[in-house]
Structure formats: structure tokens, C-alpha cells
Symmetry: C2
Subunit: 328 residues, 2 copies
């Protein structure tokens, strides 16, 4: 019996899986990202999600023999002996689990949630953005994922940042008038008649820069506004370029996409897929809502279980039944 | 007898001026910017610079009848009765000055340091960037100056940010190879053989975002590197556009430019001047090193002294003599 965790920036999901790939219990909690939430958030979220998964699976914590923790910023598998993993040890212990664990790349987990193919590509665009080339089930190359200040091109932050800049330029006369302006002012509760530029600038600097990501959805609701359309087109191009940067001549596909931008914005996902195929990409293009099935795959693989198509389908099917208990 | 202060992001300058425009004493101190350094930095820098100016002028603090304080973020004249001005009151008091003061726009002070013309344009590109149209000696329109996250297009931060992004894209394979990469790694003391991308990302996020401005000079030392040239050209265009956004049909010039980018990078200053003249700008184009002469002008004007060409020349000449005592 293993536990697999997908610790994301906005939520944490844990699943108890047996060595046939059957998922027995699912647990969810809030953010467990050490970068955005600090180490305490990892302990709390991990403990809550794992405990819930164990209770739901009706197993004892002592039956858990190992764990896989997929987490942002973990570009490769790391052992459990570093002091930087103390919050994970503490989080598992809070759920009664004292088994060894491995930390995995969250993008690799996302990839493994979408396919059992050992070779292919993963592209994520949520608050951040990055692409990987996977070979033999491991990350062989990475592009971007360099954070809001240096890259993450095409991510939710990147889009929201451009939305805010376009509105500021509109309000101060440097840029064209855009439908984004009333949308942003309304979302931030700013009266357009009362020094909107000064109040917008104040509101943005009073918050963390990454919070600009919350303005990203407005780029997709601004109708045929040319400024918004240009931002969306640039995001699609940037993501296609990031994906193209990890292309290897002998890996054609599949492509697994995840993160809120690619999951919820069909226009971006379609544009990326078109660019991918134009550059010779082949195979299925899959979108996944999270990486918990992939974390389960990685947990099994690290314990020597071969996750072939049948095992992959068992993970996906049993997980779907846990998520939607009425539909099985 | 009045005291005038130019409180900038990297230094504070104070001058004691009499009502004929003769500058009698000069004082300098470190940063007195409430945004970047906090209120204590204002008290300390203001107190030190004003005290030094008074001592150098050989006057008594009690002889100072009024003060003008030019400061970033002050887009219009404000009275001295707001609680946000407590650090200024405290700074002046530390130098023994208890006279009333007015807070002035630092860009207006820069403008007034370059010309006695009541109508014209000011453009600053230091760590930040903004343009103003001046009419009748007052700011009539402003463009940009919206800070590193929302604008300041063409500023030192803006250039340094693009330099860092280009180097990250080079190192992770998304962007073209650029001479900026070895220059940036050398400046930050990063060994190019030892995981340079990871170490660069770490170094940038460990510091304040605005500190990326320190990479800006590298864009001008990268020779004919096309990536660097594109960043410099984009900065020049952005500044020309910001200036163009405050153009009024009946104000032709002059144009006063300041800030480290426009002061030290001839290529940018020339490109902006060319664009300014192409769009119908006329009159002298002047570059100034700081705004202290303009703060003195504003101090006199607010006390009812007409600062005509003769008074302006007296301010500039006596200030130059104080700055370079040997050359008079």
C-alpha cells in the first residue's frame, strides 16, 4: 500500500494506491506549495490530505510502505535524506505515516497522469509555465519554469501581468483604449470615476506580484477586444515556443497539458496543439486536471511495479470512481 | 533664505538659496526616497544634507524661512499639513529647520533644473521612467511613472529585467545565444560551468525585483550583440512613446531629460531626441544630472520670486561654483 500526493499551489491531493494500481482512498486539502505557502503549509496540507485518503481507503497508517510527493520546483527525483524535506516528513508523520518517500517533479506527475507512454512531452500553464521532454519515464529536458520575474511565459501570471500593464497604459494615455479596463476596475472594486489609475497602481503594489495571475481570466472574457486578443495570442505563441524548445527529433508525442490556462482556455490549448502538430508532433494530445494519478504511477514505478497500459487504466478508472462516487 | 532639496532614490542634495537666486551652500547625503528606503531614510538623509548645506552656507538654521522638497511619487504640490509628511518635518527639524515646506514633483524639479521656460517637457529614465508636460511652470500632464511592475517602460529596471530574461532564455534554450549571458554571470559572480541557470534564478529571486536595474548597463556594453541592441532600441522607442503621450499641440519644447539611462547612454538620449523632433518637438534639448537647481527654482517661485532667465542663470552658476569650487 502506497500513498501518492500532488502538492499544488492551490490544492493538495493524496491517494492511497495498492500495487495493482487500484486507488482505494482520496483526500484533498489546500495549498501545500513550499515556495508560495512556506514549509508550515506543506505540513498542514500534506497531513490533512494524506490522513483523509487513509481514512477513506479504510487502511491503517502503518500499512503505508512508501510515498511519492509531486511538488513544484522539484525538477528531478530526490531522496528523503535532505533537511529540506523535513516538512514532508512532518506532514506524513501528522497522518501517522512513517514510510520512506521520494519527491517528484510536479510536471512529470502531470505527464504521467495523462499517459502510460514512457516517452513524450508535458506542458503546464497555471500560475507558472514550463515544458518537459520525457524519455523512459524520466524528465530528459526542461524549458522555462523560471518563475514570474524571469520567465513563466504564457502562464496565468504572465497573462494577468500583461492585462494590468495594458489597463495602466490605457488609463494613462500611453496605450489604446481596451475593454479590459472596465473589467479589471470592476474586479478590483475600483470606481472608474475616482482616480482609477492611482487606485489601480496602489492596489497592485499593495499585493504580491504573483497575485496578478487572478486578472488572467479577464483576457478571455473581453470578447473581440484587440488588446485582449493580442495577449491571448502572445501567450499561446509563448507556450508553443516553450514546448518547441524541448522537442527531441526522436520523440514525437504524446503531449500532456495541464494547469488552469491550458485546462480552461480552449483557445490557448487549441493553438498550442496546432503549433505542436505543425512542428511534427504526433500522438494523442491529452489535458489533465491534476497530477495525482501520475503521482500514483510514480509511487508504483519507484517500488518496482511496471505501470503498463492496463495498470495505468486501473489507476485512472479507480481514481475516477473515487472522485465521482455516484457515476460508477 | 530658503532651502531646496532633491531627494532621489540613490542620493539627496540640498542647497541654501537666497531670494536673488544665489546658492550659498550645498549638502549631499544618501537615499531619501520614502518608497525604496522607508520613512527613516528620509529623516536621516534630509537632515544630513540640509545640515551640511546650512553649515556650508555659513547661515543659522533659524534664518531659513521656507523649504521645497522634490521627491519621487509627488506628482503635484502638496501642503505640509498631512501626516505623510511627518518624516520631512522630522528631517528638517534634525537640521534645526522649523520653516514651512512644500513637497514638489521630482520630475518637475528636474525640468526646472534644465530651463527657465514655463512651458515644455520633462522626461526621466533612471530606475523608473516618466514624462511630464509643463505649462505655466506646473505639471499639466503625466505619462507612465507607474512603477516596475506596471510600467516604467524604458527605465533602468525595464532594461535590466529584459537583460535577465534574455539570459535565462539563452541558458534554458528558449532564446538565442547572447553576449549578455557571460556579462551577467560575471557581474553576479556565477561560474558558467556550474548550473548557471539554477544559480542565476536563485540569485534574482533572493534579491528585490527593482535590483534588476543594476544589470541595465550591461545592455550598453554588449557591443553589437543583437539581443542587447534590440533591448536598447526597445527602451528608446518606449521612452519616445511615453514622451509623445504627453505632447500638447501648442507646447513645442524645450525638452529636459534626466535619470541615469538618459544621462549616461548617449544612444538612448539621441534616439529619443530624434523621435521628439520628428514629431514636431522644437527648442533646446537639455540633459541634467539632478534636480537640485530646479528645487531651488521651485522654492523661490513658491515664495513669490519670479525666476526669469537671469535668476535661473544665477542659480545655475552659483550652484556650479559650489559643486566645483576650484573652477570658478
Amino acid at each position: 500500500m502506497l500513498v501518492a500526493v500532488d502538492a499544488g499551489g492551490s490544492s493538495t491531493r493524496a491517494v492511497v494506491v495498492d500495487d495493482t494500481g487500484a486507488c482505494l482512498g482520496l483526500g484533498t486539502a489546500g495549498s501545500g506549495n513550499p515556495i508560495s505557502g512556506g514549509p508550515e503549509s506543506v505540513v498542514l496540507a500534506l497531513g490533512a490530505a494524506v490522513r483523509q485518503a487513509i481514512v477513506s481507503a479504510e487502511v491503517e497508517p502503518g500499512e503505508i510502505r512508501g510515498a511519492a510527493i509531486a511538488m513544484a520546483g522539484s525538477k528531478s527525483v530526490r531522496s528523503d535524506d535532505g533537511p529540506e524535506h523535513a516538512p514532508i516528513t512532518a506532514g506524513l508523520a501528522a497522518a501517522g505515516v512513517h514510510a520512506p518517500f521520494l519527491v517528484e517533479s510536479d510536471i512529470l506527475a502531470m505527464y504521467c497522469a495523462g499517459t502510460s507512454d514512457p516517452d513524450g512531452y508535458g506542458l503546464v500553464a497555471g500560475t507558472g509555465a514550463a515544458a518537459i521532454r520525457v524519455r523512459g519515464g524520466e524528465v530528459e529536458a526542461t524549458s522555462d519554469g523560471t518563475g514570474w520575474l524571469l520567465g513563466d511565459e504564457g502562464s496565468g501570471f504572465w497573462i494577468g501581468h500583461r492585462v494590468a500593464q495594458a489597463v495602466v497604459a490605457d488609463l494613462d494615455g500611453r496605450g489604446p483604449s481596451t475593454t479590459l479596463t472596465p473589467l479589471v476596475l470592476a474586479q478590483l472594486g475600483i470606481d472608474s470615476d475616482e482616480r482609477p489609475l492611482a487606485r489601480l497602481v496602489e492596489a497592485v503594489y499593495a499585493d504580491l506580484p504573483v497575485r496578478l495571475a487572478r486578472l488572467a481570466p479577464l483576457a478571455f472574457t473581453a470578447g473581440d477586444d484587440p488588446t485582449a486578443a493580442a495577449i491571448v495570442a502572445a501567450a499561446s505563441e509563448a507556450l508553443a515556443h516553450t514546448l518547441d524548445s524541448v522537442r527531441g527529433a526522436d520523440v514525437e508525442g504524446p503531449l500532456v497539458m495541464g494547469g488552469s490556462v491550458l485546462l480552461h482556455q480552449q483557445a490557448v490549448a487549441s493553438a498550442v496543439e496546432t503549433a505542436f502538430r505543425r512542428r511534427g508532433g504526433a500522438g494523442p494530445v491529452v489535458r489533465v486536471a491534476d497530477g495525482v494519478a501520475g503521482a500514483a504511477t510514480l509511487a508504483l514505478r519507484r517500488r518496482g511495479v511496471t505501470v503498463d497500459r492496463a495498470v495505468f487504466d486501473r489507476i485512472a478508472g479507480s481514481l475516477a470512481a473515487l472522485r465521482h462516487p455516484g457515476s460508477g
